[in-house]
């Protein structure tokens, strides 16, 4: 065998692009963003130091507060909705049904599409003048009203519905894999003991699937923080600023409103929040009890 330093040189060369990306594109940009958030930068970077002024301004900006609230509402509805609906789909698909693969294919196809496509389809379907509302009225229910898309206090829920439509199939796919891994003996034992099926699911299966639920939740939560395209396509942040989200806030202030200092303060807040929420999970998932190679 070659001495260690030679083999590690080849490996280090192979890893060079990864190191460059990690150092410049990840760590470097994060540090740079945080630095700028303490400056008065408008368009081009200025490296003065104005303390926490941008953060103070950020949390005095109504649009940012609304963005944060929307993220919370959307995130709660989207994650809980996807988990419940996806779980139900997985359980019902797992009942030894006919045409299982057809149903599976139908439930997952929205996940293959762009958020832009999802947003535009739902924008068209739910627009009050020509969409579902008008169609139902034409059927004879003159009083039927479903105008959430143009109502400031409801539009964020439409975004959640579109998101659930797109991502429930993902939860189904993850949980179905978990259900298929459950020992059939468990069902026989439950039958012998005369436990009703729904109780088996609720008290035995769900706890057994908890790692899959955690994985699904992490994936969905990541999508929540990143949500941007869906809002752009579906509402553009409106009506007014009622469906603004933090990701959109940052992009708008970076590229349209030319207030980079405020935008970087906002993205730093996003970054720190995600880090705080994520760190314990990542640690337990990948590094705790790691032995030898692989996890």
């Amino acid at each position: 065998m070659k001495p260690r330093f030679i083999r590690s040189i080849a490996a280090q060369i192979a890893l060079l692009p990864a190191w460059l990306i990690v150092i410049f594109a990840y760590l470097g940009t994060i540090a740079w963003t945080i630095r700028i958030s303490f400056s008065s930068t408008k368009v081009f970077p200025t490296y003065d130091f104005i303390g926490l002024k941008q953060y103070e301004r950020l949390f005095a900006t109504e649009r940012w507060i609304i963005s944060g609230q929307n993220l919370f509402i959307f995130g709660a509805c989207f994650i809980i909705g996807c988990l419940i609906f996806g779980f139900l789909l997985a359980v019902f698909i797992d009942q030894k049904i006919r045409a299982e693969s057809v149903f599976r294919t139908i439930f997952l196809y929205p996940y293959a599409m762009s958020f832009i496509v999802t947003g535009l389809v739902w924008q068209w379907t739910l627009n009050p003048t020509l969409g579902v509302q008008q169609t139902v009225r034409n059927w004879g229910w003159q009083d039927f009203t479903f105008d959430w898309l143009v109502r400031g206090d409801r539009a964020i829920y439409v975004i959640a519905i579109a998101g659930i439509w797109q991502a429930s199939g993902l939860v189904m796919a993850i949980l179905l894999a978990g259900l298929r891994g459950i020992d059939q003996e468990l069902w026989k034992a439950a039958k012998v003991d005369g436990i009703p099926t729904w109780r088996v699911y609720l008290h035995i299966i769900v706890p057994m699937l908890s790692p899959m639920f955690v994985t699904a939740t992490v994936l969905l939560a990541t999508a929540v923080v990143k949500v941007y395209d869906l809002v752009i396509a579906l509402t553009g942040g409106g009506p007014g600023i009622s469906t603004e989200v933090p990701a959109k806030f940052v992009i708008d202030y970076l590229f349209n409103r030319q207030n980079v200092g405020l935008a970087t303060a906002a993205s730093t807040v996003m970054f720190v929040t995600v880090l705080v929420v994520l760190a314990p999970w990542l640690y337990s998932q990948y590094f705790r009890g790691q032995r030898g190679r692989g996890a």
Binding site: A14, A25, Y26, T33, I106, Y109, S114, V121, L130
Partner: protein, 296 residues
């Protein structure tokens, strides 16, 4: 009489219980919920505007027309240009092909190096890469724009390819690292004893074994990059806007009456590539989800 028996003939009918009916009812209603937007998209795209104005979203077109499709593809307006969505389609392909190849090649090499060679700092490198998969992109954007414009890659095709490579790397590395972690270390040790170097083992032993994971990676990257909106909008430049950006411009920046049939035709055209990948790849797509998500 002697030929008749009390036993039923033929296959036993499957039990039809209220519970079974409930199961199928739930599945069929759910399927309708998932399919309805697709159905609405399709029929809207072949209706003339006169029919759309009547407000019957679900009704079948009385006078079907393919004109909206032709307009969407060839001369719909995206802001100032009226060259249709085909421009974006071609741009998306020009972005897609190099981005997919580069990101997978890089991910495979790095995954291999991390799995078998474990050079100094490997854990740190992997930790940061992993973190990169979860961190909101907003925190990277502004400095990245500045860096790319310093080296003259901002608003260019190579620029957007670099960006897709950078942000595709976490998932690709994770995918290949996990895959190689499942390959017996003894196989690698045997190759080492036979005198195989870093690249020889990679190209002659590991890569030929990697076909399944490469297929998964291609599926993930093709759908992911095709569906991207944010990076295309910020880094590609007006000349290279991908299809998702062009689509949004067609639909959301028009003036005058909104042509919903053209919009829906353009939307279907944009969704077509990932949908084809999805329907053709079938279980591989699900495997991609599992590989990227479930295993740590």
């Amino acid at each position: 009489m002697s030929t008749t028996t009390m036993e039923p003939q033929g296959p036993r009918p499957s039990r039809i219980t209220p519970a079974r009916i409930g199961v199928y009812a739930f599945l069929v209603v759910s399927a309708a919920f998932f399919l309805l937007p697709l159905y609405v998209m399709l029929i809207t795209s072949i209706k003339p505007m006169a029919e759309i104005r009547l407000g019957n979203l679900f009704s079948f077109p009385l006078a079907p027309t393919i004109e909206p499709w032709i307009k969407a593809w060839t001369y719909a307006c995206t802001g100032v240009n009226c060259d249709g969505i085909k421009v974006g389609f071609l741009n998306s392909f020009r972005i897609l092909v190099p981005s997919v190849i580069v990101s997978i090649a890089l991910g495979a090499t790095i995954g291999y190096a991390l799995s078998f060679w474990r050079p100094r700092g490997a854990n740190f490198l992997f930790a940061v890469l992993l973190l990169g998969a979860f961190i909101p992109y907003q925190v990277f954007l502004y400095p990245l724009v500045r860096m790319l414009s310093t080296v003259g890659l901002y608003n260019s095709l190579p620029g957007i390819v670099v960006v897709h490579t950078i942000f595709g790397l976490p998932l690709m590395t994770l995918l290949f690292r996990n895959f190689y972690a499942g390959i017996p270390i003894d196989l690698f040790k045997a190759a080492r004893v036979d005198g195989g170097g870093f690249w020889a083992i990679f190209f002659r032993l590991m890569l030929p074994l990697s076909t399944p994971i490469i297929i998964v990676a291609v599926i993930l990257q093709v759908t992911g990059i095709w569906n991207d909106f944010l990076f295309g909008l910020i880094f590609a430049g007006r000349e290279n806007f991908p299809m998702t950006v062009e689509l949004n411009n067609v639909v959301n920046t028009t003036t005058g009456e909104r042509e919903y049939n053209v919009n829906m035709a353009a939307t279907i055209l944009t969704a077509l590539v990932p949908l084809i990948v999805y329907f053709v790849s079938g279980r591989w797509f699900v495997r991609g989800i599992a590989a990227g998500a479930v295993k740590g």
